[in-house]
């Protein structure tokens, strides 16, 4: 085991940059993805028929194809098609179109939207109908029932699963090293190419991923505990039924 390269400021900078990019991509994809997921779940349950059909097709396609293929599809496929659009190079969107970060984020947002969308849809279906009827009986409008009762109860039910989705997302991020984005894996590859050491850089980034996962799990666990209605009031964890 030779870790002497760790003292090289070149490599420290690459690793740091890779780590920061990984966290940014995680944050953007997680927030964007969960918002999309709620949209997908609502569209499938309550949307007009064409929208519901579209959301179902979206989920099937995204969940049925490999993430790496999607990433290439967006970056080399859609990206290159859009570049052929005349005049696009002069608009504000062009700098975004040149950036692999943008395509990485779009891919992961779609992925999280499809997987978590199905989770949230399932959770919404398992909220006891009596609770929603009780809401209506108290005079809440349909919209109020949705925003104040149905969604919060569904998210409460599937929070642990969503935490799992976020951890899976974190570990999908190294795929972006294939579209020329500096992430932790690309930093490790640079070190491998220059020092001919294969295992040491990989072990290091595996350790960084593990530590990040532990921190992420602990943070999301705090969210789970503090989510409204999750605190034990009368020695019961879940106020279900």
């Amino acid at each position: 085991m030779d870790f002497s390269w760790l003292s090289d400021p070149f490599y420290q900078e690459y690793l740091w940059q890779g780590f920061v990019n990984t966290l940014w991509l995680l944050l953007v994809s997680a927030v964007g993805g969960q918002l999309l997921a709620v949209g997908v779940a609502l569209a499938r349950l309550r949307g007009p028929r064409p929208l519901a059909w579209f959301a179902a097709a979206f989920s099937s396609v995204i969940r049925g194809t490999p993430l790496l293929v999607q990433l290439f599809f967006f970056y080399y496929g859609v990206g290159h098609l859009l570049e052929g659009v005349p005049g696009l190079r002069e608009t504000w969107i062009w700098p975004l179109m040149r950036d692999p970060f943008f395509f990485g984020a779009v891919t992961f947002i779609c992925s999280v939207g499809a997987y978590s969308g199905e989770v949230i849809r399932g959770a919404m279906l398992s909220v006891p109908p009596g609770e929603l009827e009780a809401g209506r009986a108290f005079g809440l409008s349909g919209r109020q029932v949705l925003v104040r009762l149905w969604l919060p109860r569904a998210i409460q039910l599937c929070l642990p699963t969503l935490t799992g989705e976020m951890i899976l997302l974190l570990k999908s991020i190294p795929l972006v090293s294939t579209i020329a984005l500096m992430d932790l894996l690309q930093a490790a590859n640079i070190i491998r190419d220059e020092t001919f050491l294969v295992y040491e850089p990989l072990l290091l980034i595996a350790g960084i991923y593990l530590a990040t996962t532990v921190v992420l799990t602990a943070t999301l666990r705090l969210v789970e505990i503090n989510f409204p209605g999750m605190r034990p009031r009368s020695r019961r964890w879940l106020p279900v039924r």
Binding site: G79, R98, A180, I190
Partner: protein, 257 residues
């Protein structure tokens, strides 16, 4: 059983070595997979290309007979050590790692990295690199050069797995500039779709690029190494190398003493 097969193989190797003395022809190992324009088969079925013709010139200088011996590239170093071939001459870069296993002659050619960008763009390299997005293929000498030598130039280096991905992103406008092997870039620029691009400059000599391409030899063949070093110097100095290089590659890549 295993032992006896191994012994037989070793014996066979020794018997062939016994013949490979003094005036027996030198076996010049090249990659069995064609590597144009360095080594490829002419319409006649004979091997030709820059390195094949250069090998013939070097052998003429040595006054030895040479035979071109195509060998699978991935097994070419073991073939050298098993004495099936006597030298490797197929664009093998002199690297520290290989030098632990085999010896090299002095370099006979060197291709620098070439900067390619849109023809309409006015560029002074490295001064104008600041703020540009540059693509390079990872795990190449160009990638190492870009990261090390261009570190303070302000250029944003993007690393790709495959050379074709770099070219495609250059054509699509996602990259402002590309740094890649000059010979490969000349072939890329010959394509119709790349007509709006040109070579802007070549990278200067730098540690990242190593010494160049040398002939690989067994470490114990010191006499052969000395003879080849002289022969290469002679072929380079009398201009044979430059002539072949212009003929096959369109530019002079020979390494002068």
């Amino acid at each position: 059983m295993h032992v006896s097969i191994k012994t037989a193989l070793v014996l066979a190797a020794f018997t062939t070595t016994a013949h490979a003395f003094a005036d027996a022809p030198l076996n010049v190992g090249i990659s069995g997979e064609p590597y144009p324009p360095f080594t490829y088969k002419a319409a006649s079925g004979d091997w030709t290309g820059f390195e094949v013709e250069l090998a013939h010139a070097i052998c003429a200088e040595l006054e030895r007979e040479c035979e071109i011996a195509p060998t699978g590239w991935s097994g070419i170093i073991p073939s050298l050590q098993a004495e099936r071939i006597d030298m490797i001459m197929n664009s093998m870069s002199i690297t520290e790692q290989r030098q632990r296993v085999i010896a090299f002659t002095r370099p006979y050619y060197f291709t620098p990295g070439a900067y390619v960008a849109a023809s309409e763009r006015e560029l002074v390299i490295p001064d104008d690199l600041d703020g540009l997005v540059m693509g390079v293929q990872s795990a190449t000498t160009n990638a190492t050069y870009a990261r090390r030598a261009l570190r303070d130039s302000g250029v944003d280096v993007r690393l790709y797995d495959q050379a074709e991905q770099v070219n495609s992103d250059l054509l699509a406008g996602r990259l402002d500039i590309v740094l890649a092997d000059e010979i490969a870039m000349r072939q890329f620029l010959a394509r119709d779709e790349a007509e709006a691009f040109e070579i802007k400059a070549t990278a200067p000599h730098h540690d990242a690029y190593g010494e160049g391409i040398g002939i690989g030899l067994r470490q114990e063949d010191e006499a052969l190494k000395a003879a080849l070093d002289e022969a290469i110097a002679a072929v380079v100095e009398e201009g044979t190398c430059a002539r072949l290089s212009e003929q096959f590659l369109g530019t002079d890549v020979c390494v002068y003493p």
